[in-house]
Amino acid sequence: EADIYQTPRYLVIGTGKKITLECSQTMGHDKMYWYQQDPGMELHLIHYSYGVNSTEKGDLSSESTVSRIRTEHFPLTLESARPSHTSQYLCASSGLGSGNTQYFGPGTRLTVL
């Protein structure tokens, strides 16, 4: 079944640790996105990719980095986590067959102590 997956769903980690949030999709989409959402607030785009080896920063400045080595995989990395990174991170994809519609994964709730 075509879907978009994120792991882990929940992560509690100490300050200074390096973390990678995984995002994979089996939708056959070429475009992928990372959004950040704080409770009760709107989603903000932090990274996007239009294809393999293509990555761009979004509208909200973020200390995280992303890579796109395979079409279906778009991981997000924080080299040194801080409490200010505590948030919900949502991955999305779009592409041929979806029109302009972005489809979202279930999200990763990150808490940095």
Binding site: K31, E42, G58, N100, F104
Partner: protein
């Protein structure tokens, strides 16, 4: 500046009590307007895309409409399972980026 404003912030309805959610937008050029449903702790679930003023789309108890300045999400005879946060987003012409509103938190009581 491109902007999306949703109202009300929160809405409590009795089961069967119809109502509407509003999404007002100011953008340089609209490529599309999207409605999503988001349950607590989950990612947004796609509902509708509207592309031009006058367009309407329906799905079960939900109906979305679009004018040049705003969109409405009408909920007819809601049920408790319709309780969720409803998000509106606009896509600007010539980009794929979505600009989201803060959402309307809907609670439907039996």
């Amino acid at each position: 500046e491109d902007q999306v404003t949703q109202s009300p912030e929160a809405l409590r309805l009795q089961e069967g009590e119809s109502s509407s959610l509003n999404c007002s937008y100011t953008v340089s050029g609209l490529r599309g307007l999207f409605w999503y449903r988001q349950d607590p702790g989950k990612g947004p679930e796609f509902l509708f895309t509207l592309y031009s003023a006058g367009e309407e789309k329906e799905k079960e108890r939900l109906k979305a409409t679009l004018t040049k300045k705003e969109s409405f999400l009408h909920i007819t005879a809601p049920k408790p399972e319709d309780s969720a946060t409803y998000l509106c987003a606009v896509q600007i012409y010539n980009t794929d980026k979505l600009i989201f509103g803060t959402g309307t938190r809907l609670q439907v009581f039996p």
